[in-house]
Symmetry: C2
Subunit: 200 residues, 2 copies
């Protein structure tokens, strides 16, 4: 095994252990010692990969946001009607929040624990995600496909609805990420006031 | 001042200090010592009111849920059309999440830290809140006022949308709880598929 590959594999294992610990005890209630213990490592062995708990949180948070951004880029259908684009993007975003709910919780709820510099780096990715949804909403309003008096408010609600999936998933009959994705694509269509004729 | 009143006043101050500490450091990252220090108390002085950090979390969580339940009971308009009831309930629920966002965050995100017995007590109140929204959604579907193929999914989304307000509020142009309440009453009307004619 190449040293580089081994190194990045070890770092990935440390991040996964940290997500599990943060999900269980919260970021504030977790020590780097606990994370290391989960992997039978000494805290010193973790140091070459992540020099502090905050550095580890930043790596997790940044990776989570970048992954979401990539999933959205792959799901976008720029040539299609706004309602088709919106449905595809909402389904992908929702599916990710459900499928990775433990990671997503850390990504969404612990932003306040980042250093100001790290926070700004993550928020930049976050803003580009919101901007993508906002641009689709605005496009739909411009073309008349969407009937929405308030692009900002509707975008805020769409993001909020999807992000909160990681808090409650799974619940009741909704235990399959694909089922939540389909439900939310339908509900997003209603939220933006797309013509019933364009409902899938 | 009566001893009882003084006692309950002291307990309320302790709960408020705990909410502030939990909001800042998370439940897991807060000690009873820190909460006491915030009030210039010794941990021993807190003991007659709350014997552990978990007991304090339970008191906060239970009170928050009961308060929400009361706000909803006061806002319900059982004699009115389903869409009028839904709008009034969603507006009240949203307004509470926005106006008390630090408390609401503790109430919503730290449920997993409760003892199983305390968790069940809080979840009972939580279920009655969901059941109220669900009954209004089902009523509207039965009367034909709402066009929704999936009462469970729509109710889940309505609750999720409102609950997530405490995570993001305030944001952008939405800094007034009443503005979010009005936006969300409008969006809830769309989510349940109420006839445009009944839109306020």
């Amino acid at each position: 095994m190449e040293p580089e590959m081994s190194r990045s594999k070890a770092a990935a294992r440390i991040r996964a252990a940290a997500v599990a610990e943060f999900a269980e005890h919260g970021y504030g209630g977790t020590t780097t010692r606990q994370i290391a213990a989960r992997l039978d490592l000494s805290p010193a062995a973790m140091y070459p990969h992540y020099r502090s708990k905050e550095e580890l949180l930043f790596a997790i948070s940044y990776e989570g946001h970048r992954e979401t951004q990539e999933v959205l880029a792959e799901s976008d259908l720029p040539g299609e009607q706004p309602v088709v684009r919106l449905r595809s993007l909402i389904a992908a975003f929702t599916r990710w929040q459900a499928a990775h709910h433990a990671l997503a919780k850390v990504v969404q709820y612990e932003l306040g624990a980042l250093t100001p510099e790290h926070y700004l780096t993550v928020v930049e990715v976050r803003r580009s995600i919101t901007a993508l949804f906002r641009s689709v909403v605005e496009k739909g309003i411009t073309t008349g496909d969407f009937d929405s008096p308030d692009a900002e408010g509707v975008t805020l609600a769409l993001m909020s609805l999807c992000v909160d999936v990681c808090r409650w998933f799974p619940a009741g009959a909704y235990t399959d990420p694909d089922a939540v994705a389909t439900l939310y694509a339908d509900l997003a269509t209603r939220l933006v006031g797309a013509e019933p004729a364009t409902l899938g």
